[in-house]
């Protein structure tokens, strides 16, 4: 039968010569290889103590941003939920009452804002869709959990902590 690709090559088995037969040179070669590895830099990252730096455009857990006065930026327009290909985002909007101006930036805000982290594919489309620069995927990894219901992150986990600009700026200024 004709061979399919004429690439087959029959290697000739030569009998071992004296140095190959006494086996010791081969052992020394092997030993030199292992000792070289002994002094090599070890690529291991000692995880809990040392963290590997994330790439700059890493997309992690979402955070709902506040403005410079500490008010939530989200106006519950629903564009993020609309843009989400995995349909992970849901929200219920509410109207800002009198006296809540220090809490919410716009007249409408999200009373409930939930992201299902099991559905989310971290594509970043919500970030792109948001007209108010209210949502960014700049958090850490979303960690594992035991129950499905615990993966539905509400505002308690998503809204970034209040950050007092005035207090922070005092010592530098």
């Amino acid at each position: 039968m004709e061979p399919l690709s004429n690439r087959k090559k029959v290697l000739e088995q030569k009998p071992m010569n004296f140095w190959e037969r006494i086996y010791l040179p081969a052992i020394f070669k092997g030993l030199s290889i292992t000792i070289k590895h002994f002094f090599k830099r070890i690529p291991t990252v000692r995880y809990p103590e040392v963290l590997r730096p994330y790439s700059k455009n890493f997309r992690g857990q979402h955070s709902l941003k506040r403005d410079e006065e500490g008010r939530e930026r989200c106006t519950a327009c629903g564009l993020c939920a609309l843009s989400c290909p995995a349909e992970a985002i849901t929200m219920i909007s509410a109207e800002r009452e009198k006296g809540e101006e220090h809490l919410y930036r716009e007249e409408k805000y999200a009373a409930v804002y939930e992201i299902n982290m099991l559905r989310c594919i971290f594509c970043g489309l919500c970030e792109e869709a948001c007209p108010k620069e209210a949502i960014y995927l700049d958090g850490p990894h979303v960690t594992a959990d035991y129950l499905r219901k615990d993966f539905i992150y509400g505002k308690d986990k998503l809204v970034e902590p209040r950050f007092d600009y005035k207090k922070e700026q005092e010592p530098t200024a």
Binding site: I27, G30, L31, I33, T34, I35, H37, F38, K40, I42, P43, T44, R46
Partner: protein, 345 residues
Amino acid sequence: MELAFFIEKFLLVTIVFVISLVIAMYSTLAERKVAGFMQDRFGPDRAGPFGILQPLCDGGKFFFKEEIIPAGAHKSLFILGPTIAIITACIGSAVIPWGQELVIGERVIELQVADINVGVLYMFGVVALSVYGIMLGGWASNNKFSLMGAVRAASQSISYELALGLSLIALLMVTQSLSLKEIVVQQQGFVNWNIWVQPLGFLIFLVCAFAECNRVPFDLPECETELIGGYNVEYSSMKLGLYMFAEYIHMFVSSALMSALYFGGYNFPFMYDLGLSQNWITIIGVLAFFAKIFVFIFFFMWIRWTLPRFRYDQLMNLGWKMLIPLAIANIVLTGIITIIKDTFF
């Protein structure tokens, strides 16, 4: 026999015993560390800084494991197996000269437990005994795999003891003495080390020492791939730990023996030219001896993480068809050279 003599020897025995156990303990860690570094990783480093508490954790775990004696096993022999293994491993260190004498006040303390005039023969006997631990354990387990391991251990140690003995005979022809102390004293300085007159003998001795310790590439009695662990399949808890310990103590004792027989023991270059007092020479000598031992222990591990295991027929071929003829040739060669030296120089 005075009381002070007893106390002195008792202390020495205790110290040697403790040192061999501690070295065996830390050899387990060192082995894993060396393995790690050779495979581009760290090895155990979670228990304490650099993992130095790892052997303690392992020991603790061994003690708290359930101890299982299989229903079909011969109970007393099953217990006797690891006992013999660890005892024979430990008593080997009795004749090794650890250093010269320490002078404390009036007393001169020899750093050797027993200077018997047939030290080499004693070592040889102890090495020959050590296979009984493995054999009894393997047979008493009433398990085919353990029995296979035990049979392999027995035949391997018989074949390699021959070459070991023959390589030693060539050495003894040079040293003219069976006392280990005498042999070490003869190797004063650097040029008098026996390795320079017996390089081939040392090579044979080294290979046979690997085989006697059941170390890679001669670890056929406990190979995982064919015998799922070999002679110690049925062992659990500290009995398994004792077998492991015995292996590492063996490694330590063989390293000590190799450095005493071929690498000058506690002798170090320029030991009398530096103008040190006797006690300092002894202390540095002991340190030098241990440095040599550690180099050998490292070499054992280095080989382990480099070479694959021999096939059984290769092992027998190497033992009977290569090492024994080579050892006999070495004896003849040594004899001829000795005669030439005696008649012409």
